[in-house]
Amino acid sequence: MNNSLASVGYRTYYVWLRNAVSYRRFILPTFIASIGEPLLYLVAIGIGLGSYLGAIDGMPYLTFIAPGLVVSAVMFTSAFECTYSSMVRMTIEKVYNAQLATPVSAEEIVAGEILWGMTRGAVSGIIMLIMLAIFGLAHSPWIAAYPILWIAVGFLFSSLSMVITSFARNFDFFTYYFQLFISPMFFFSGIFFPLDRFPPAVKTISLFLPLTYAVDASRALMQGNMGWQLMIDTLALLIPGFILFVYALHRMKKRIIK
């Protein structure tokens, strides 16, 4: 495993760069999509549903859910990029094959893909935050610390998704991942309801969902409640993220090299 990490060098950036060059063509369409989705949540759930729910934890519903959306957007985008998009590059476009024939190592290909998943995730996070700012929901000075959170969330979900891709025989496999893991996480990680209002069993489960810590940290940043919990949240993302990262390198290498 140490070996895998040692093979990750600066050429990781070249793999990232390849994706960035290819992404240039899609900036506009993905940008529009990235604005559309948050708008949907903000308007339909926040304003529509929120007007029935009233205040939660002493704040308007929209204010309550906003922090969660800033991190769940990162999760969804990173997860999508490192499953469907990576699989297309690997199996259909044979991008990894071409890269393998150069001084780039298999580990750098995987690390570059994860770095790219993090980048796409961060872009979604930024767009969501801008939307919230437009709705007047982001004014704490602590939002300047968001990049750290985006990196942690993107790192974890990109690495996890890469591990999933290393096991995937076909694209259907990803449907299970999203329906059985990612989407439930979206609903049970305290974005839409405070965790203490869940039944104890659900609350216990939610403690094992990484997004829970991201939502908690995001809420702290947005409301300016800085404290030890923020450290714990960040570590709760970075430590499993690192383990999954190393595992993804190992698994994907086995899949790429024959």
Binding site: S22, Q99, I257, K258
Partner: protein, 302 residues
């Protein structure tokens, strides 16, 4: 020696794709790997490329033992893969520039080389095209141009002309001969015996993971087949031909409805077969294809 392979074995699970082969490639020469489908040609060159680990044995490329860790080898060789892996998301130009980055080629030098390679391959006016807008022949030439981006010491081509029309094949042969003229060492796999005869100083004929023969194309033809071949089609039976040729020295092989007569005094044999009123007789020069079929068998053998 640019390549030295010693008792190389490559297994995929239980399947042995390469079964203990040894050969070497001298600087400045072109060596062809020939063999039926599944013979293990691609498996062999993928080990040389350092993208597939050998199961046992050794392969030294540019004096370094080939392994996944051998980035120095990958940095100094060029590869045209059997399956097109050009980047469909990028333009022709971006394919080349992105690839140049993988080799740490400074931008300015990369730009000059890309210009030169694209015009050498006749693609200078397609730089803005997407890959799916190129014809099969253009894609293959772009793959060759891409393989040359790092100014390699060794070029490995896995079936560089499969699926191309005869014109395009000849164009590519011209270009490869040009590269060889500049002293580039080449290893190529092919199913076209004419290609091997046109380009290769020496050929390695493989089947089922093993090497059957290594030699110069013309010498192999002379040794194993002779100068000319006489084909007799729709023959009544081989015994009748043997009767007609009684007393002469020759080699004979039957496949389907055809008898192939080799290694002979052509004039004498021709006189006998015409005299015996056999028809559908074809007299032609012997080729590497005869050698190949003789060694690997004429029937389906996969």
């Amino acid at each position: 020696m640019i390549i030295e392979v010693d008792n190389l074995v490559k297994k995929f699970g239980d399947l042995t794709a390469v079964d203990g082969i040894s050969f070497s490639v001298e600087r400045g020469t072109c060596v062809g790997l020939l063999g039926p489908n599944g013979a293990g040609k691609s498996s062999t060159v993928r080990v040389l490329q350092c993208i597939s680990p050998a199961t046992s044995g050794s392969a030294r490329v540019l004096g370094i033992e080939a392994s996944l860790a051998a980035r120095q080898i990958r940095a100094r060789i060029g590869v045209v893969p059997q399956d097109n892996d050009l980047d469909g998301d990028l333009s022709v130009w971006d394919n080349m520039t992105v690839f140049a980055r993988f080799f740490d080629i400074p931008r300015k030098i990369a730009r000059e080389r890309i210009e030169a390679q694209l015009s050498f391959m006749g693609l200078a006016d397609r730089r803005k095209s997407r890959i799916d807008e190129l014809s099969g022949g253009m894609r293959r030439r772009l793959l060759i141009a891409r393989a040359l981006i790092n100014d390699p010491m060794l070029l490995i081509l896995d079936e560089p002309t499969t699926g191309l029309d005869p014109q395009m094949r000849h164009v590519i042969w011209q270009q490869l001969r040009g590269l060889k003229g500049r002293g580039l060492t080449m290893v190529l796999t092919t199913h076209y015996m004419e290609e091997a005869q046109q380009l290769c100083d020496s050929v390695i004929i493989m089947d089922k993971g093993r090497i059957l023969r290594i030699g110069e194309p013309l010498a192999l033809v002379k040794e194993l087949v002779g100068d000319e071949v006489i084909e007799v089609r729709n023959h009544v039976n081989a015994a009748e031909i043997e009767r007609a040729l009684g007393g002469l020295e020759y080699g004979m092989e039957t496949f389907g409805d055809t008898v192939y007569i080799t290694h002979m005094d052509v004039a004498a044999v021709m006189a006998r077969v015409t005299a015996s009123q056999m028809h559908a007789i074809l007299r032609r020069p012997a080729t590497l294809e005869d050698v190949f079929l003789k060694l690997t068998g004429r029937g389906l053998n996969e």
